[in-house]
Symmetry: C3
Subunit: 152 residues, 3 copies
């Protein structure tokens, strides 16, 4: 099954790729590596939620935000590659969680992203990961996720 079909089977839809809003670009390929810029949980032109976890954004909502970051990152990858079937494996995922200073469940938020990648790519979706807290993220996003893929 193609990755696009698998995404549909999961009841998910990739958003249209977002045009670059600055001098940086959504994806840069370097040999077999595809680096995807940090994604925030925009959907349909607005942020899924705004604020810090957990005082302003619940853990569950933050996990949904992490999943949206994956969809946005895959949209950027698809635009760069033509097809997500060219993704050989997910290599590394960096997860930044805007959180209160006493919140220590960044891994649970990040699991929203990690588990979706495995649902979509299977074993090839398993990856090294760093998950950390931040005081604030772009546009008030509760989560930002960046990706490194191997491509063929």
């Amino acid at each position: 099954m193609s990755i696009a079909a698998r995404i549909t089977e999961l009841g998910l839809t990739l958003p249209p790729p977002v045009a670059p809003v600055a001098a940086y670009i959504p994806a840069r390929q370097s040999g077999p590596h595809l680096f995807i810029s940090g994604q925030i949980p925009m959907s349909g032109g607005k942020m899924l939620a705004v604020g810090r976890v957990p005082s302003q954004v619940s853990l569950e909502t933050a996990q949904a935000c992490a999943r949206q970051c994956v969809l946005n990152g895959l949209s950027a990858a698809q635009a760069a590659l033509g097809s997500l079937d060219r993704v050989a494996q997910v290599v590394r995922v960096g997860v930044f969680v805007a959180c209160d200073p006493d919140f220590h469940d960044q891994p649970k938020v990040a699991n929203g992203a990690s588990e979706l990648l495995v649902s979509i790519f299977g074993d090839a979706g398993r990856h090294a990961r760093a998950a950390v807290g931040c005081p604030a993220l772009p546009l008030g996003a509760p989560v930002e996720v960046e990706f490194l893929f191997d491509v063929r």
Copy 2:
């Protein structure tokens, strides 16, 4: 035009490379990849500004700091490579902004770095990027930027 000439044409000057102050080194090459350590906006031996954005450091000053981080990173790259003409492309830039908890314009700060890279390298300067907030950075720096270049 060489990259060195382009930097001069822009009215900019690369600082002398800074000697390593710890067990880490300014640049490490791995095959075609050159990783540059996180750069802070030191210039002439002192920090351009100290503190958090925007309560202690303005957005405009933070953007200038991000540009200085680029110059410092290019100085490290030049010392490692002999010539910046060996940079094939900028691959990834990581931008950390020391900021107040309600500041969400990390991308505008990071644009200071991204736009300068494009001014210097043209399309080869366009890159994937992650920009996030931090409560504090080394020596009170308002901005820290790390770089990944492809080299030839």
Copy 3:
């Protein structure tokens, strides 16, 4: 001398590799690169210290935590590679320090990790590095460290 023997000579012991607790994995190889997930200072099933530097965790303790993160990361690398003698060089280390907003000695904390890597690997242990502050890290860890190795 093998790296394992060198670690013993330094009076250190690698912990057993930790089983993955989520969809992510401790290590992912991509060609000659081995990415190690962000490590926290767990030792014998408990955290060496919990809290922010320096109000809740001293600089010295944070440095010890950074060293433990190295041991945990090397344990993950050894499990992935079979032998640490396959590490050709340390390429990049990312250090996140949970700290108070007025703490600016992240590099001193990170030196705990960097200096141990050089003690173990010699010149091959020298690396590019980014060290930044965070408000909070997983499970209350004062330090999280991720690694990129070149392998042969």
